[in-house]
Point group: C2
Chain length 405, copies 2
């Protein structure tokens, strides 16, 4: 039951039913391809004549294409339909603390080319570096299709009205606009989004067919901790685009000081930096620790491999992180009751150790049996969910439900 916002509603016109049914059909093709017109008619409870008209429209726009006719047990052979994704390309950009990744990929998320470079912190220098690399990528590898847009994923909150990055602690950016400069220099539409939401979009639109559907939360654990939430099929951005900042929720008011200045944040307990600091037996927020981290160059992957090598200190650090992560996921469960939680980040490499501890912490605080058993799925970093999210930013609007009422 949705309330109509009488300030910004969208009235239905004569062509509204067609737009809606067209979009439903397109999504059915996307999720069931290959599929015939007759099957679509059965799925949609509609006459085949209607389907013919809608399919003709989509064929003319080259949103879908007709494949070979398959064998059928009897009767005329159906003509199979497919969504056109192979020759539609997009650029995804993942700006991270140390490195920036650029990928050219088709609309289904299959990478065509990928490269990376050390992150340039100055915004305008970053833009010009990106522009050069994007142009070269498209020139060298863009023969198989047309690039239709850029999906830019940044570690920070993004104002969707202006495209500005409101605050990125990792890059020390405040109110920075790189979207418009990038769009102007490349002549391509640029979609910008913060990392946890991009990961959630990647899961929703480019995930496996089995786990589609249902509302979920995507929890990213890296230098920070953030959550991308999908509720009623829509991403939650909040009134001023800062929703999902679970990282700065306190779980222990007498806990360690966080980089944000407050005490006892979830992020200060369970981020990669927190785990490494704990391993080194140092305080997270002190200047010396940060210097030490920078100099030693130790990463969370190192801590995990030392744990595997039998380092008891490393194991203790990771087990403590797991416990706090479980408490964090318990917060998400109590707040949102998602049908599943996806966890992304380097910590997933230690999931065999982390998972049982997480599950136990959730069990301690869950209010019902079902919520205690909320599926927690670890997503490995090597499928690069952020970059796939960048592709989804460009591709998903084609498939989204029309906004009505």
């Amino acid at each position: 039951m949705r309330k109509i916002d009488t300030r910004k509603f969208v009235r239905a016109t004569r062509s509204t039913p067609r737009e809606i049914n067209r979009q439903i059909l397109l999504n059915l093709v996307r999720e069931h391809q290959p599929i015939s017109r007759a099957d679509l008619a059965r799925q949609m409870n509609i006459g085949r004549g209607m389907i013919t008209a809608l399919v003709d429209e989509l064929l003319k726009e080259e949103a879908i294409y007709e494949g070979e006719s398959t064998v059928a047990p009897r009767g005329r052979r159906p003509q199979m339909l497919f969504v056109r994704t192979r020759d539609r390309l997009a650029i995804a950009i993942d700006v991270r603390f140390s490195r920036t990744y650029v990928m050219l990929s088709d609309f289904a998320g299959n990478a065509v080319a990928m490269e990376s470079f050390e992150t340039v912190v100055d915004p305008s220098a970053l833009v010009s570096t990106l522009v050069a690399r994007i142009k070269r990528l498209i020139r060298d590898h863009g023969a198989s299709g047309l690039c239709e847009g850029i999906g830019l994923v940044v570690p920070g909150m993004v104002d969707q009205r202006t495209g500005r990055i409101l605050n990125s602690p990792q890059l020390a950016w405040r109110n920075v606009d790189i979207r418009d400069a990038l769009a102007q220099a490349t002549g391509l539409q640029v979609y910008i989004e913060n990392a946890p939401i991009a990961c959630a979009l990647s899961h929703a639109w480019l995930g496996r067919r089995g786990d589609l559907g249902g509302d979920f939360a995507y929890v990213t654990v890296s230098d920070g901790v953030g959550v991308g939430m999908v509720v009623n099929g829509q991403v939650v951005r909040g009134a001023t685009y800062t929703a999902g900042e679970f990282g700065h929720i306190p779980i222990d008011l007498r806990g360690p000081k966080c980089l944000c200045g407050a005490f006892g944040c979830l992020e200060a307990h369970t981020s990669n930096l927190a785990t490494i600091s704990r391993y080194l037996g140092r305080e997270l927020s002190s200047h010396e620790t940060r210097e030490l981290l920078r100099e030693s160059g130790i990463t969370i992957a190192d801590v995990i491999s030392r744990m595997r090598g039998g380092d008891a200190q490393a194991r203790a650090a990771i087990e403590a992180t797991a416990r706090f992560l479980g408490i964090g996921l318990g917060i998400v469960i109590n707040a949102l009751n998602p049908s599943q939680i996806i966890v992304g980040g380097e910590i997933t490499a230690a999931w065999d150790v982390v998972s049982p501890i997480v599950r136990e912490a959730i069990r301690e605080r869950a209010l019902t049996e079902v919520s205690a058993n909320t599926p927690i799925i670890a997503e490995s970093t090597d499928i690069s969910p952020r970059l796939r999210g960048g592709i989804a930013l460009v591709a998903a609007p084609l498939f989204a439900a029309p906004q009505i009422a």
Copy 2:
């Protein structure tokens, strides 16, 4: 941008545009009444002919009615339209720990009659008591209209598929069904909902015209602490109907033991019981404390009035509660970034003392200037938001957006 769920979509038909525009028109009348056809045409960017047709339909169904024609600066006088609410009635039931309230009211939330009785904990005994009172209420006061349904508000999580109360700690109910029994005995449609969501619905559908629109959170502070969230115009219920349980999020792992069994829950810091226990200098969860509370009969209102009388102990207890409440609201802000938060419960009677402490606690943890200034609005208990929510449960479906795509 919403994703279409290909498992349970609603296809558009020939009459879909009409359904949508009809509903938009009805909502415009509701929020701008009195309003003329010509004004509606301007608001909706549509021909006046279309409006005439839609209005005729709504008039025939008696959803709206035509009032007097008003004066106009020049030209033909417009005929004003109104939503019919006066002679449409609903029963609202608010089941609480100690007392149960029953109200007969019109669809706009104007009470016709109200009564209360000591809560009967046995479900079937409660149903028969309710049935008798409802029948008498309708007989004695129902002359002004027809009762079209019952809105039942309970302190606990409700499975909306089955109507069962999954868990109500206050009533010690688990998997109890009173909805169907009530419906069968009264012959009326019964809508059941948990208290925080009902309060949120009350705010969304029966609130003042000024503060309509925008997503928000309704935080209820009574014996428990819960949140009703409205995101993208829709209430958030969660995959298994247990969303909004912010009361059992830990804010201090070394904090007091909660009635749920875990340590350091928000509820254990800021519920009415927590405040009273703190005032008495007792541990919340111990058996002796609960006995003492029951025997002494001291309420949160007593603590507040003693604070007003100069009791330093009472002031300290309430100030501590205020601080923890601020931390709780900070959690809601970081998680959801709502455009506003409504706080309901007895504690609002001390809002002059509570408010500045709450605001300071939020400021300590908010990540942006805007989110630090999220409006926090106290809603007094004497407008009975729960009962109004019960009315909204019956009335709102008439005005909701049609589900499409």
